[in-house]
């Protein structure tokens, strides 16, 4: 049978991408948008865990994903180097009213991340592209994961539509981000 081969297929390497350096104005502009997303995600999951509204699978999801987002954030910050944009301000009162609100907001936030990374892929150097590609599919996994927990369709479309920067910023604003 094919058990060994399947096990090999399922095995996943653990490697942190090398820090990349912004190579041009496009890279920097895109990385600043990605920084906004990763900062939002890291702050959102931290706030969710502190709010005490989560238990069971949703809590486990938030814990794991907070860890991932802080790793993503470190990579994006590293790529930007010094002179980072000012921190945005967050008001997650509505997004974290209860566990359901959290799950809906998390799905929207992860979708925005997927849309942003996919939408900006054509604006960056190959170096940034390669690292972004390692992050974006993890954001998509998060988006599907939280929907699976909630028994909602984890993959509602055959392809993920890229989002424009404006669409991404609008989505974040809805979730309580002021940048």
């Amino acid at each position: 049978m094919c058990g060994g081969a399947l096990a090999a297929l399922a095995g996943s390497a653990v490697a942190v991408p090398m820090l990349v350096e912004a190579q041009g104005s496009d890279d920097r502009g895109v990385l600043e948008l990605l920084l906004l997303i990763e900062r939002t995600e890291a702050a959102f999951y931290s706030a969710a865990l502190e709010a005490g509204i989560l238990d069971g699978e949703l809590r486990e999801f938030a814990q794991v994903v907070r860890g991932h987002e802080s790793e993503h954030l470190a990579v994006v910050e590293g790529a930007l180097g010094s002179d980072l944009p000012a921190e945005p301000t967050f008001d997650f009162a509505d997004s974290l009213a209860d566990a359901d609100a959290f799950a809906r907001a998390a799905a929207q936030l992860e979708d925005a991340a997927v849309g942003a990374y996919n939408g900006q892929a054509g604006n960056v150097s190959k170096k940034v592209f390669a690292v972004a590609a390692r992050i974006v599919s993890v954001e998509a996994r998060h988006a599907a994961w939280v929907r699976s927990i909630e028994d909602r369709d984890p993959a509602p479309d055959a392809t993920d539509k890229p989002m424009t920067e404006q669409q991404v910023r609008d989505s974040l604003r809805e979730l309580g981000v002021t940048a």
Partner: protein, 222 residues
């Protein structure tokens, strides 16, 4: 700063127009909007414009989509995959078939033929089905990631990335159904074409020649 808008990739508006048209006419059912739009593109025009590299990448992607589509379709037909797993098989199967159609549409006459598959019973057992689905979806994510950077046409890159993240959603979904962590690492690693094709070959699911097992008993020849 020149920032490329995703919509700008679609220079002649064909993608957006096709997408809007498909949405309007409700052709889509299971939310196949963007792939449907790709599918609706004038096929000959696309295939003629593809570079050698892009043709190669798209055919490789097509080979993986053939594999996935056949796997889910057979699982669906076996009726052994029930409950939430059955629902997932139906939904994901429809999407993988749409991906096949999209690549066939892009490649036109340059498309490789669909191989024969023998899934060796994994489509008839829920545990084996889920384990295989997880492996296929994780593999697809790694495979698309390995190729996206090679693609030369911006529109094809955009399409491939949009499919790449859907495969990641499927991977998370199947993992959740299988009781394993949907996002095991903070970063997903790419896989080379060579690695992926070797892993696929090692499964034995792709059979080059037609199966020798007769579907019907031979007639009595006395």
């Amino acid at each position: 700063m020149t920032r490329l808008d995703p919509a700008a990739l679609d220079r002649d508006g064909a993608l957006e127009e096709a997408r809007a048209k498909l949405t309007r006419t409700q052709l889509l059912g299971a939310g196949l909007t963007a792939t449907g739009a790709l599918l609706a593109l004038p096929r000959r025009a696309w295939a003629a414009q593809l570079s050698k590299t892009d043709t190669d990448v798209l055919n490789y992607a097509l080979s993986l989509e053939y594999l996935q589509a056949a796997f889910y379709t057979e699982s669906e037909r076996s009726k052994a995959i029930t409950g939430k797993a059955g629902q997932a098989a139906r939904t994901v199967g429809a999407v993988e078939r749409a991906h096949v159609d999209a690549f066939l549409g892009l490649l036109g006459k340059k498309a490789i033929k669909r191989p024969r598959f023998d899934f060796q019973g994994v489509t008839e057992d829920k545990r084996a089905f889920l384990k295989t689905a997880v492996a296929f979806e994780d593999l697809a994510v790694a495979a698309y990631k390995g190729q996206a950077i090679r693609i030369e046409s911006p529109a094809v890159v955009s399409a491939a990335l949009g499919i790449h993240t859907v495969e990641a959603r499927h991977a998370a979904w199947m993992r959740h159904l299988n009781g394993i962590q949907p996002a095991a690492n903070a970063f997903d690693e790419p896989d080379s074409k060579q690695e992926v094709l070797k892993l696929v070959a090692d499964t034995g699911f792709v059979v080059a020649a037609p199966r020798m097992k007769a579907k019907r008993k031979p007639g009595y020849t006395g």
